[in-house]
């Protein structure tokens, strides 16, 4: 079996990261993880966000329960080589 945790997050803070020369080399984004939402995997309710769930190895289509106020609308992932301590983490962003 494999392990997955899904989060619904909203951006709390976005900041440009610069080097010593003041050139922008990236963006630092801080998220707030939001309260539990229904987790749908392959069309089945498989618990909620913010907790690790146990699934079979392989391909899974993931989305969240209503309201549909998140992006992307669904994600297809391949679960493999995970552990219960280090599950695959998948993030949806609140819009």
């Amino acid at each position: 079996m494999e392990y997955l945790i899904v989060r619904l997050a909203e951006i709390k803070n976005r900041k440009d990261v610069t080097n010593d020369q003041g050139q922008i080399i990236g963006t630092e984004i801080k998220f707030n993880f939001l309260a539990d939402r229904d987790l749908m995997v392959g069309g089945d309710n498989q618990g909620t966000t913010n907790q690790t769930v146990e699934l079979t190895r392989g391909t899974h289509t993931i989305t969240l329960g209503p309201p549909m106020d998140f992006t992307p609308k669904s994600l297809k992932v391949v679960l493999k080589d995970t552990t219960v301590i280090s599950p695959m983490e998948v993030r949806f962003e609140k819009i």
Binding site: M1, Y3, I5, L39, V41, G42, G43, D44, N45, Q46, G47, T48, N50, Q51, T52, V53, E54, L55, T56, R57, G58, T59, H60, T61, K76, V78, K80, V84, I85, P87
Partner: protein, 477 residues
């Protein structure tokens, strides 16, 4: 020359018409599914109950083995009824949620699913102590049935299904089970002769065939499940063109992408996809089903599928199950070997029989061990998570919390009941020694005293099983 009078001509004509009709006999066909958006009928999801009722989730797997298996599984049901959950007035039997059956075990499982506690009143007379195979032989020897059997679309298994339908299952259908919608949810297993894959009599399986299971007789499913090769013939199903709007579920589509990641998932869907695809009804217009034991003789594969990817997995991930108990009733008879007492090698019949049964028994053993390892893995992971968090709490200043596992600290028990657990000498009054049970044949007739011994053995095996004892001793209401 004697002439027939008009009355005799009428009688002769009537007889010829009856025989002609008999000769056109056809097995009852499964019906097409008219509307794919129609509410699912016979599926585990329809048997849901209030969430806290699934805190204790009990599944039973009844193996094949003719009346030997039917009697043993019946004995287990009796013991479950007589065993109370500690601290409650509920029996363990009232907590049984799913029964998966094969061959002989299908009679007991189906009877209980349909008629509930009535099984303890009349099942012994209606099935266990009847000479079913004698009655079947009688039907085959009935001259009227010769004309029916002459039809290429009607065979011995159809006679058997008629007998079971009329005298055991009271013409019940899966629609009747769906209407009851009360646990346990019954899964009758047969084998698809084309791929050797397991075929289960449930709505999702029938939908792959564009068929509606609601009107399908339970007796025909039991007949398919117990269609022993050569003695009985296959049960046939029609694979219909899929109605407009039909499509594979998202989960099935994901599984078809998993050839390199998860071949179990891939093939469990692929074996059905060949029927469900747009041209499936042209390439594979029929299925022919035989004894479920050819694919899985203990009925545990259906439980495995529920646990890893179907209804039970959903409940675990929703945190509904606190304790999970699987009871595997395996009526395998390990006939004491006589073949290695002779210097000359065994003959063709012995070799043929052993060839048919050896791999089946080995596969059953591996399936049980695999399922036990799956349960052990879950328990280990739960312990690992708890231990890691304890170490962090003990040694780290920051209050870091590892993500918790949905379902928390579930307790899992896999109880495997076989004649191997019975000592060679009788361990208790009413229980014979091991060899007595191993020498019982695989037939659909056993004398009443042998049936009584099997019922007693089923109860004793369950009561004495260490995993079942652990389940009871650790149970807290």
């Amino acid at each position: 020359m004697k002439r027939f009078n008009s009355r005799q001509y009428r009688m002769l004509s009537l007889a010829l018409i009856v025989l002609a009709v008999a000769g056109c006999a056809h097995y009852p066909k499964n019906q097409p599914l008219e509307d794919p958006s129609a509410a699912v009928t016979y599926d585990f999801s329809r048997f849901d109950q209030q969430t806290d009722a699934d805190e204790t989730f009990v599944v039973l797997a009844f193996s094949g083995g003719g009346t030997r298996a039917a009697g043993l599984s019946y004995g287990v049901l009796k013991e479950l009824k007589n065993t109370k959950l500690p601290g409650t007035d509920r029996s363990v039997l009232s907590e049984v949620d799913v029964i998966s059956t094969v061959s002989g075990g299908s009679f007991t499982g189906a009877y209980y699913a349909l008629f509930g506690d009535r099984i303890f009143v009349d099942y012994e007379a209606k099935f266990l102590k009847r000479n079913i195979q004698g009655e079947l032989a009688g039907k085959v020897l009935n001259p009227y049935n010769w004309f029916r059997l002459a039809s290429p679309y009607f065979s011995r298994i159809d006679l058997a299904a008629e007998l079971y339908d009329q005298t055991v299952f009271e013409s019940a259908s899966f629609g009747d089970l769906a209407q009851q919608a009360t646990r346990p949810f019954l899964i009758i297993n047969a084998t698809n002769l084309y791929q050797g894959a397991r075929f289960e009599f449930t709505d999702p399986q029938f939908r792959y065939l564009g068929s509606d299971i609601g009107s399908y007789p339970v007796a025909r499913a039991v007949a398919a499940s117990s269609a022993f090769p050569f003695l009985l013939s296959p049960v046939s199903l029609v694979n219909y063109a899929k109605p407009a709007g039909y499509e594979l579920s998202e989960k099935d589509q994901d599984a078809l992408a998993d050839y390199w990641y998860n071949k179990r998932s891939y093939y469990s869907v692929y074996n059905n996809f060949i029927y469900a695809e747009p041209r499936g009804h042209e390439n594979h217009p029929y299925l022919h089903l035989m004894d479920g034991g050819l694919a899985d003789n203990i009925g545990l594969r259906a439980i495995y599928d529920l646990y890893v990817r179907k209804g039970v997995r959903r409940k675990i991930n929703q945190g509904q199950i606190k304790r999970f108990l699987a009871i595997v009733v395996n009526a395998r008879a390990d006939n004491p070997a006589k073949i290695d007492k002779k210097e000359s090698p065994p003959g063709l019949i012995t070799v043929g029989f052993k060839t048919a049964t050896l791999s089946l028994d080995n596969y059953s053993f591996e399936t049980v061990e695999m399922f036990k390892e799956l349960a052990a893995q879950r328990i280990r992971n739960q312990a690992t998570l708890n231990d890691c968090q304890q170490k962090i709490d003990q040694h780290c200043r920051n209050k870091f919390k590892i993500n918790s596992l949905k379902g928390g600290d579930m307790k899992l028990y896999v109880t495997d009941l076989t004649f191997d657990s019975i000592p060679l000498e009788s361990p208790a009054p009413g229980i014979k020694g091991r060899n007595y049970y191993n020498e019982l044949p695989t037939t659909f007739y056993l004398p009443a005293d042998q049936v009584e011994s099997l019922i007693a053995a089923g109860g004793w095996l369950l009561k004495e099983n260490p995993d079942f004892k652990d389940f009871l001793s650790e149970y807290q209401p």
